[in-house]
């Protein structure tokens, strides 16, 4: 009663003043920026904020709605009603809620000229009321839907539009919890509301919508107004069909995940059978599309509706035959639609979606159960569309259109082919043969220049050619188009009989032309020697053709699976086996082994294995390239083609070279003869690849991407032992090793990352099988010179004096780079020897830190060596070795700290340098800590024992190093530096790790350090991104748990956790926060409550004492009691903790709204 009186009084006395105040505030907000100051603006915003938070604002709001003429104020009044209803729901009587809802609806109905945003906000308030009411069943959707039904049947377009808006508001309010989280209710609540809604109200809405569409589709001439109503209902239909039906029994954590799915497919429950299985529904949408397809916006809606229908699956189908007949009807409708019209650009994507949904959502058995004629027509239609979209996509590219509708539609269909082709079980591949040939041919055609192809040709047949600037961030075609290439590669395998020989002949022919063209260029240059006079157009066209042919060949012949053993694709193997009897192996090997000659110049060239012949064609390309470099034509070559060649060879190597017969059911004799273990062919090809690598590394040092691809090929050759065994038998390998060790041109011109990988490869090669003398000799050539030179240098008496000489600095940098490369070569079976080798250096590196203490770039690189060693090796090291590494790292950090403590720098790069050092140090510490999570060390020792006696004997532990490091890092972590996102993330990751892993070490920190650590946590929790805030919250539980174990209560940590209790309390209960954070915050909260029960009770009491309203007071007090009911007294027990977390969620849902009110 008291509440009502106060509310009414406020309205009676204050309403006109309130309205006047709000209207003038609105005027300020709407004024142009130049007319009002930012203080005025803030003040005005504050007025609205306070207004929306005011208690029981219903009467005032009604008055505002009825009397104010300012739209913005009306909007705010609607918002205030919506927020207050949810906030005060438990205090309101149901009848007054019902009358409020009626008031709002009537209000909108009577004012057809309301601003759209005001109307929608009021309808949203209605929807929120209905939804909140559905929880306690106090308000039902039925009566609202009944009213809506009347509006629709009135035939009045304005009323119909309003009806549609109401339905839209309901749909969006019930559809997803993410859109509605602002009313502060739990996921479970949203979930159960949604389930109720989708079983009943939603279906009702669908039926009403269908009636409207039916009605409109029958009419002949629609007025513009009617047309727009039609469009709205079509959009509504699309919303219903795109409803993400929530399955029963989906846990709360999954709801959010489930709702995050992007492409929702239609999976209604059984109760929808009658509504959706009726073929008239599908026919209606085909009819609607026919009617609206001239209007691109509406056409997209209607096609999207059809695409949703095409995705229908799940329990709605009573049995398979129902599904088959549904599919058959859909396909018939679709074919009828496509065949009877000329497609608009705007229809491409929608039609591709329908096709793609049919193929991906219906089981193969359903597809094959279609009448054979229908199935064939469907596949033919798919083929024709794919080819036509492919051509149009190519046109789009040539014309550089911003809108790439055909490209997207094309890719969608190519994906569908991949889905179709991958399933061999249900239909014979043969029925896809011809379609595959056609799709493949069109792809090739679109990517080749005239006369064979149509690349860069616009619609009128004119070829365009422009040179654009391409930066390194732009992906290479092989990645950019990997999706397309994957599908085309698969099509190439399906129709291998056609595609592999086609690729071979196209490539061979172009390589011959390239050879000729380069020769002519050379003659031309001999005559004029001016590169500028060379016409690059012909060459560039050839390069582009070859580029695409090699990419497609790579995708046809091999896959590049991550983390699996790459195999020769079964289709390619079968193709080779099928033709093995017609093949002359010797001729095949001869063609393979003579890349310098034209394939067709070798007698019997037609009787070769086609798979080997395609590889040979790439080798011929490679050979033309190599010869051109020897003829000093490097500048005429394409580095892109160079990349393509080594990319192909690497991909090929992984699957084919030294193929393991045990992995295949059947093996092709030509392939095993040419590439099997212990064959002349494999030895030859290893040698060839190695020479290619060596040549590229010297010729292309200036092309870092090509050099990178090349060195990757080398790493691939040696990273598997059986291949490495062959590699080290090559004379070229030793030459390369010596050349690199001598640090002379051309290899030292390579970029540092390529040099590191090269070092890695050389080290990996050293673990191949060799007799012991050879092995000794190898290491003497590769690693020992490095050691020797380094020691000679640093042991010179006057090293400190010479240390700044350029040659000395370069030697040092080269050594440090090489060490990083060596660390990269670490594998489980070589870690022992690499570790001891590197450890020697690490100690010397510490000496270097002293000598170069004033030279930041060297200091930085030294730290990087430690980072790399820790990163690659720590997970394999046993206890003794780990200890040595910890000690080395500790010394490094000590020296770094000593040298930087009293150093004041004023030069321009000081901040940049420091940022890089800190980032590396934190990376180092995180790497050392990672031992806690990932440990592959052979001995089964436990790295960190619980028994303090055992660790006492050790000199250094990971904790010591890490805390010492934090000691260095913390004082340097200024708030400015935390603005670098990568640094900030790394920093918080590190301190959270520390709190989780070594909570017992935290209280032992020196006072200053302890304080700054706590400050960092608070800062991270309260004023950083939510990701970091979450990390900090995660750090709190272990700290609190550690405190609880300790008997001493008067410690700084104990006091700090008290402070955090207040922070987390405020965060969880009084501030709006991200729902994702509730779990992390809740766990931290519980541990802190356990630790500080008295303080927690005080916080609760203080909060309650500010509450003047008796009803609210009681609600809150009850809620707090329930919150801890299941866990009193709270203890650090997992079960209790889980019970508490569940209660907390209810708590936030029930009274969270009340607490946020001021």
């Amino acid at each position: 009663m008291a509440r009502h009186r106060r509310g009414t009084m406020m309205a009676a006395v204050g309403a006109p003043e309130v309205i006047a105040q709000l209207e003038s505030a609105a005027k300020v907000l709407m004024a142009p920026p130049s007319m009002v100051s930012s203080e005025q603006r803030q003040h005005a915003e504050h007025i609205f904020l306070a207004f929306r938070k005011s208690k029981s604002p219903f009467a005032v709001c009604k008055q505002i709605l009825e009397s104010s003429k300012v739209d913005y104020v009306l909007f705010q009044a609607a918002t205030a009603i919506m927020e207050a209803v949810v906030r005060e729901w438990i205090l309101l009587e149901k009848s007054s809620i019902e009358s409020l809802r009626t008031f709002l609806l009537t209000y909108v109905l009577q004012r057809p000229n309301l601003q759209k945003y005001v109307r929608e906000q009021i309808l949203l308030a209605v929807a929120v009321i209905v939804k909140r009411g559905s929880l306690d069943k106090s308000i039902s959707c039925k009566s609202l839907l009944h009213e809506v039904g009347q509006l629709i049947s009135s035939g009045n377009p304005t009323a119909q539009t309003l009806a549609c808006s109401i339905l839209m508001a309901l749909l969006s309010e019930f559809s997803s919890s993410s859109k509605t989280s602002s009313i502060g209710l739990s996921m479970e609540f949203h979930g159960s509301c949604k389930r109720l809604f989708q079983e009943d109200a939603l279906r009702h809405i669908f039926v009403m919508t269908m009636e409207v569409l039916q009605e409109f589709s029958r009419r002949e001439n629609l007025s513009a107004h009617m047309c727009s109503v039609f469009q709205r209902y079509l959009a509504l239909a699309n919303q219903v069909l795109s409803w993400n039906f929530l399955p029963p029994n989906l846990g709360r954590h999954y709801i959010a995940m489930f709702e995050a799915t992007q492409n929702v497919t239609l999976k209604p429950s059984e109760s929808w059978r009658e509504a959706l299985l009726d073929t008239r529904i599908m026919d209606l949408f085909f009819a609607v599309h026919k009617k609206v397809r001239e209007d691109s916006d509406m056409a997209q809606e209607s096609l999207q509706c059809l695409a949703q229908l095409a995705s229908m699956h799940g329990p709605i189908f009573p049995n398979e035959s129902a599904q088959v007949s549904y599919l058959a009807h859909m396909v018939e409708g679709l074919l009828g639609m496509i065949n009877g019209m000329e497609m608009e650009d705007s229809e491409a994507m929608g039609i591709a979606n329908i096709m793609s949904n049919l193929i991906s959502m219906f089981p193969r058995s359903t597809l094959t159960a279609l009448p054979p004629d229908l199935f064939t027509s469907f596949i033919n239609c798919l083929t024709v569309l794919t080819c036509s979209f492919g051509r149009s996509a190519a046109l789009e590219e040539t014309m550089d259109k911003d809108d790439i509708v055909y490209m997207e539609a094309y890719e969608r269909l190519l994906d569908s082919w991949l889905t179709l082709v991958r399933d061999e079980q249900h239909f014979p591949r043969s029925c896809l043969d011809q379609p595959a040939v056609q799709v493949f041919n069109v792809y090739i055609q679109c990517h080749l220049a005239a006369p064979d192809g149509t690349r860069n040709m616009s619609a009128n047949g004119v070829a365009s050619h422009d040179e654009e600037e391409i930066n390194e961030l732009q992906e290479d075609d092989r990645e950019l188009f990997s999706g397309q290439l994957c599908s085309i590669g698969m099509m190439g395998r399906v129709a291998a009989d056609h595609c592999i020989p086609l690729l071979t002949s196209l490539l061979e022919e172009r390589v011959t032309r390239l050879h000729g063209q380069l020769q002519r260029t050379q003659q031309h240059l001999m005559a004029s020697s001016d590169l500028g006079t060379v016409d690059r157009k012909v060459l560039d066209d050839l390069y582009e053709d070859i580029h695409w042919l090699i990419l497609v060949s790579g995708y046809v012949l091999a896959d590049d699976p991550q983390g699996e053993t790459p195999l020769i694709p079964s289709e390619v193997m079968d193709f080779s086996i099928k033709h093995a009897t017609e093949v002359d192996i010797n001729t095949t090997l001869q063609i393979l082994g003579s890349p310098g000659e034209k394939a067709s110049s070798i007698p019997g060239f037609n009787r070769t294995d086609c798979v080997i012949r395609l590889l040979s064609a790439v080798l011929r390309t490679s050979e033309v390239e190599s010869r051109a470099t020897r003829a000093s034509l490097t500048e005429m070559l394409s580095p892109q083609m160079g990349k393509d060649i080594v990319w192909f060879l690497r991909r090929w190597t992984k699957s084919y070279l030294l193929l393991d017969e045990k992995l295949y059911k059947q093996i092709s004799i030509p392939l095993s003869t040419a590439f099997g273990a212990d064959t002349e062919g494999s030895r030859w090809i290893v040698g060839y690849l190695l020479e290619k690598v060596i040549s590229n590394l010297s010729v292309w040092s200036s092309e870092s991407e090509l050099a990178t691809d090349t060195v990757e090929l080398l790493v691939t050759l040696v990273e598997r032992r059986e291949r490495a065994n062959l590699v080290v038998q090559c004379e070229g390998w030793w030459r390369l090793a010596k050349q690199f060790a001598s640090r002379s041109p051309p290899l030292h011109l390579l970029s540092s990352s390529v040099q590191r990988s090269l070092m890695k490869a050389l080290v990996l090669g050293g673990f191949a099988n060799m007799d012991s003398d050879t092995k000794q000799q190898y290491w003497a050539e590769v690693l020992h010179p490095l050691q020797q030179r380094f020691h000679n240098l640093i042991n010179q008496e006057n090293f400190a004096q010479m240390s700044q000489e350029e040659a000395v600095k370069q030697e040092i940098i080269a050594t440090l780079e090489a060490l990083c490369g060596i660390a990269e070569a670490t594998q489980i079976d070589n870690v022992a020897s690499l570790f001891s080798f590197l450890m020697d250096f690490l100690s010397s590196c510490i000496g270097l830190m002293e000598v170069y203490s004033n030279t930041p770039e060297t200091v930085n690189l030294i730290i990087e060596v430690f980072v790399e060693v820790a990163h690659k090796q720590i997970c394999y090291l046993g206890e003794t070795k780990s200890m040595r590494l910890y000690e080395a790292c500790l010394t490094l950090l000590q020296v770094y700290s000593k040298n930087n403590q009293s150093r004041k720098r004023g030069d321009s790069t000081a901040e940049e340098d420091q940022y890089q050092d800190l980032l590396l140090i934190m990376e180092l510490l995180t790497n050392l800590l990672s031992k806690e999570f990932i440990d592959f060390s052979d001995t089964d020792e436990v790295f960190r024992t619980q028994d303090p006696g055992a660790s006492a004997g050790r000199s250094v532990s990971a904790a010591d190093v890490v805390l010492y490091g934090v000691n260095i890092v913390l004082p340097l972590m200024s708030q400015d530096l935390l603005k670098f996102p990568s640094l900030c993330n790394q920093y918080y990751k590190l301190i959270t790790f520390i709190c989780e892993i070594f909570p017992e070490k935290i209280p032992q920190l020196p006072e200053e350090l302890f304080k700054s650590l706590m400050f960092s946590l608070e800062l991270g929790m309260t004023s950083m991104s939510s990701e970091i805030s979450q990390l900090c919250l995660e750090a709190l539980s272990p700290l609190a748990e550690h405190c609880a174990k300790s008997p001493d209560k008067d410690t700084p940590l104990y006091h700090a956790t008290q402070h955090f209790l207040k922070l987390v309390f405020d965060m969880l209960l009084l501030q709006k926060h991200n729902t994702e954070m509730t779990v992390a915050a809740g766990e931290a909260f519980y541990s802190l409550v356990c630790l500080h029960q008295v303080e927690y009770n005080e916080l609760v009491q203080t909060l309650l004492s500010t509450q003047r309203d008796a009803v609210i007071y009681q609600r809150l007090a009850d809620a707090f009691r329930q919150l801890t009911a299941s866990s009193s007294p709270p203890t650090m027990d997992r079960k209790q903790k889980l019970a508490f977390l569940k209660s907390l969620e209810e708590f936030v849902a029930n009274v969270g709204g009340l607490l946020c009110v001021k």
């Binding site: 930066n471 009293s902 030069d907 321009s908 790069t909």
Partner: protein
């Protein structure tokens, strides 16, 4: 400063290096100024073109940001950059510096920045300390101070 002419003509002050093998954190001459490389990226003209390197550097003396772009096969001049620590002997607008072999050097002014202020403060407090002198292409500057340890 009096040696400016001879200093800049010395052949050993810079050496050529292929553009592609320059490294981030290393040094390069950009538009005639010694710079620390803070950013390196590549681009090419047309898909089959050759790489060009785009360099962004900070002048090691002035902090000014400088950029350059050149074909990756070209050689760029790299300055010999050295750093040397000295004891500070006297101070009167000019600094009197002594290296660990006892050689002295009196041609450097007190820098007009935080390092300069720091040096003044340390002198007033009677602390003993070292300064680091950065030197490249005939220019020199005191860039850091450091206490004895």
């Amino acid at each position: 400063m009096e040696d400016y002419e001879t200093a800049t003509s010395g052949a050993s002050e810079t050496y050529p290096q292929q553009c592609s093998s320059l490294r981030k954190n290393g040094y390069v001459m950009l538009k005639g100024n010694p710079c620390k490389i803070v950013e390196m990226s590549t681009s090419k003209t047309g898909k089959h073109g050759h790489a060009k390197v785009h360099l962004v550097g900070l002048d090691i003396f002035t902090g000014k940001k400088l950029e350059d772009i050149c074909p990756s096969t070209h050689n760029m001049d790299v300055p010999n950059v050295t750093r040397k620590d000295y004891q500070v002997q006297l101070y009167d607008g000019f600094l009197s510096l002594m290296d660990d072999s006892g050689a002295t050097k009196e041609d450097l002014r007190l820098p007009d920045n935080e390092v300069g202020t720091e040096i003044g403060k340390k002198f007033d407090n009677g602390e003993s300390f070292l300064v680091t002198v950065l030197k490249a292409v005939g220019q020199e500057a005191v860039v850091a101070t450091k206490n004895y340890n």
